[in-house]
Amino acid sequence: MNASRSNAMQLSFSARSENEAFARVSVAAFVSQLDPTMEELNDLKTVISEAVTNSIIHAYDCDESKMVRIEASIEGDSVTIIISDEGSGIEDLELARQPLYTSKPELERSGMGFTIMENFMDSFEVTSEPGRGTQIAMTKRIESKKALYN
């Protein structure tokens, strides 16, 4: 494999809960070309799951006719993931990012989604417009298993 690699993929799927697993497995398969460790792969799967679940539950209120979109790109040893929806948007971003805060306590949500995304990735950015949708952009550098042998 060459040192300066660049690669990209896009995925668009119905806002159905069974697609949460599809989304995280697809992104994990795409990122596997960087030879990530099990822990890095698990981190990525977890944040994808969090972001996609947010779009399904909060942005679309479980309306399965809506679509969630994922773009993933690889630049060198970093992967950037953008997850977006055209749902209800987030009124108060600062409040939504507070650990343990949830707008849907009746659904037994833990309120940890954004906290997990911030902790598991190297960079995390959320932009949202009420009534228009939300976009989450995250980057992670993959140290790769190869580093262990050097």
Partner: protein, 117 residues
């Protein structure tokens, strides 16, 4: 992807073994099966064994916390065992460790509850 829930009653203790992936999609089933088993079996305590759990996200934290509250309101406890490094990090981040003891395996979890009786 799916999730398998294995339930075993040992007198007043319910052992719940989760196998597969626990996310928003599979959380409802875990919630319903555990709730039903606790109430039907009149279980005081629950041991949640995560040895075969391949994946979990914050939806899993919500389900675990919800059943913890139910048990606590009935005067019981929830203990967790065989936690993978990935799940461990989620517990750490959310502070779940502060309210639920973690044990290496089912046997240790079981004896911790029997001592507490």
């Amino acid at each position: 992807m799916s999730l398998h829930v294995d339930l075993e009653h040992q007198r007043h203790i319910l052992i719940v073994r989760l196998q597969g992936e626990l996310d928003h999609h599979t959380a409802d089933e875990v919630r319903a099966r555990m709730e039903d088993a606790i109430l039907r079996g009149n279980s005081t305590h629950v041991i949640l064994s995560l040895k075969e759990l391949a994946f979990m996200d914050s939806s899993g934290l919500g389900v675990i916390l919800g059943r913890y509250k139910l048990l606590k309101s009935r005067g019981g406890k929830m203990v967790i065992c065989d936690v993978s490094p990935g799940v461990y990090r989620l517990f750490e981040l959310s502070g779940l460790f502060k309210i639920m003891p973690i044990h290496d395996n089912e046997r240790d979890a079981l004896s911790s509850l029997e001592v507490a009786l």
